[in-house]
Amino acid sequence: MEEVLRVEQLSVYYHTSAGPVKAVERVSFRLHAGERLGLVGESGSGKSTIALALMRMIKPPGRIEQGEVLLDGQNLLKLPEEAMRRVRLAKISLVAQGAMNSLNPVKRVRNQIEMGLRDHGALPANGQLAQVTAELLDRVGLRPSVAGMYPHELSGGMKQRVCIAIAISLQPHVIVADEPTSALDVVVQWQVIDTLRRVQQELGAAVIQIGHDMGLMAQSVDRLGVMYSGSLVEIGGTRGVFSEPLHPYTQLLIASLPSLDGKGTLHGIPGLPPSLLNRQGGDCPFHPRCPHAMTRCTIEEPKLREMRKDHWVACHLYDDALSESPRVGAA
């Protein structure tokens, strides 16, 4: 499959008076054309920071420390700001977290769709704007009359679909959806994800879907990356990650999910997520909570390695299995 996006060794720190908060630490992954990749993690795991870094929208005190974001072979982190502005929306677009609040409350939907087109010089010829807008709204399952409405006249699910319509207005290759359904009811959540999936397939665009809900990931992405404390600790095909989770954190996370298959005892993950402040590195970030922690975990940070075909894990438990031919690199 053709690769549209490659992230190499990306690190993002927030520089605070108490020291650098290492929100994302040397994260590497690839995204293929038309693929849906999920990034799952708890709050503070760095998943939203990755979304912003891909768009190059990290604001001070945050800073991209190192790494490459290659979109169709072009390193976005090296582009001048004006060139990057032209890439956003046209080639890589963002459906922001809490997108219901990302619409301008005093502008009609029509004008908000028009704005993006105008900025990118893609405004259709006179008289055709209404038709283009109607087509975009139709793609996300909204009536043409929505174009004349203000955001407050729309429900949460409709607002989120307007955001998707804007995100696809220039037919980007990559759509980054950061918690696209976090504030929505479960039925509406299904509608929004169903819409996102349909338009993404129609456009042939790849999607990076970021979230914390393992259930939602199981049902909506092809490949899943698990973030912990700023690092990618496991990445692989969604089925493989769920049927044979390799990293102890992934295993505990899946075991902690309540199911409908019968009542059982609830298993939380003991301990607390670590502070990202002044993280020294040199150890596995999960070792204080890990039931399998060994001495090695406290002195050496495990690298992401391919344990099974297209299923990568960063954990010392698999050192022996991998000792013959370790493949280290971007998953």
Binding site: D213, Q219, L272
Partner: protein, 353 residues
């Protein structure tokens, strides 16, 4: 089914409670937030009841009514048989001790300028629960330990120094200090990380099992509702759609709305289908309500009939432990809405303790 004896006074009871919000001065628009809701928490067997609903279902209105924060427009909320609005000062004090709440947002309930000790000391001071400093400390430590927190790691810190999960458990510990009979937990885990949710729910369940406290668990998440409660009440736009034993309502939902709700849960298993709206199919359409009484779900329901828009369906007792407010089940005997608690209670008596 025998009507409940008047002598067995419930601790907290909603009797045919309705709440209508009116807005506008010239042309009044009325919103029915809750319609003829009846429910009671007895004093005999501690129970765990989940009230499940999406936004707009009336669950927040119900919490505020049960706490006496707002007054119903119809029916009454009773604490030990007394209307909440007419409690004497002593009864009011008793109510505040017996009925405790854990709110949704573990960030906003704290004053950031005080250490977390403050929220634990206040109720002790207000209700004079301890007569010495040592007794106070002991009481606080025991309740923190009961919810799985280490006092030395928790006390003396400011709210921002604790995680969301820890802060939420401090609130559970605070509720426990007063040895309440009922804890109303309003979306206690919706703002907490996945890995910590199970721990908080586990600490709430422990209060039920070890301290005999009844729980009312208000949530939009039918999966956790199923996991922790004996009974589930499903609300849709202010009315009860279906209610009964959790083992019936969630795995084998009857009401079309409950079926939609259960079918929309993204299960954490890629092999399971995620049907969402495909569970139901196309709404029937073409129906217009003839009056104020109609099934609130008719517009989205594929099985909607003329009957559904002529009068709201009553509760049909489809199982000794479940009622469903839907005409699809009209072959089953109808029961008055006020008898919901008796239906819910039947399973508790059946289970030997």
């Amino acid at each position: 089914m025998a009507r409940r004896e008047i002598g067995m006074t419930a601790i907290l009871e909603a009797r045919n409670v309705s709440k209508v919000f009116a807005a506008g001065v010239i042309s009044k628009t009325e919103t029915v937030a809750l319609e003829r809701f009846s429910f009671s928490i007895g004093s005999e067997t501690p129970s765990v009841t989940a009230i499940v609903g999406e936004s707009g279902s009336g669950k927040t209105t119900l919490v505020r009514l049960l706490l006496g924060l707002i007054e119903p427009t119809g029916g009454e909320v009773l604490y030990r048989g007394q209307n909440l609005a007419r409690l004497s000062r002593t009864e009011q004090n008793g109510f505040l001790r017996d009925v405790q709440t854990v709110f949704q947002d573990p960030f906003e309930v704290y004053n950031p300028f005080y250490k977390v000790d403050h929220v634990l000391e206040l109720p002790i001071k207000y209700f004079k629960l301890a007569d010495s400093k040592a007794a106070k400390r002991d009481l606080i430590e025991r309740s923190l330990e009961a919810v799985g927190l280490r006092p030395d790691e928790t006390l003396g810190r400011y709210p921002h120094q604790l995680s969301g999960g820890q802060r939420q458990r401090v609130m559970v510990a605070r509720a426990l200090l007063l040895k309440p009979k009922v804890i109303i937990a309003d979306e206690p885990v919706s703002m907490v990380d996945a890995s910590l949710r199970a721990t908080i729910l586990e600490s709430l369940l422990k209060l039920n099992r070890e301290f005999g406290i009844s729980l009312i668990y208000i949530t939009h998440d039918i999966t956790t509702a199923y996991q922790i409660s004996q009974d589930v009440i499903v609300l849709y736009r202010g009315s009860v759609a279906e209610a009964g034993n959790a083992e019936l309502v969630v795995p084998k939902p009857e009401h079309p709305y409950t079926r939609l709700l259960v079918g929309s849960i993204p299960l954490p298993d890629p092999e399971e289908p995620w049907l969402g709206e495909h569970v139901l199919g196309t709404p029937a359409g073409g129906l217009v309500p003839t009056g104020d009484s109609y099934c609130r779900f008719y517009q989205r329901c594929p099985s909607a009939m003329q009957q559904c828009v002529e009068s709201a369906p009553p509760f049909f007792l489809t199982d000794p432990q479940r009622v469903t407010a839907c005409y699809l089940y009209q072959h089953a005997p109808a029961v008055p809405t006020t008898e919901l608690s008796d239906v819910l209670k039947s399973d508790r008596q059946a289970v030997p303790t």
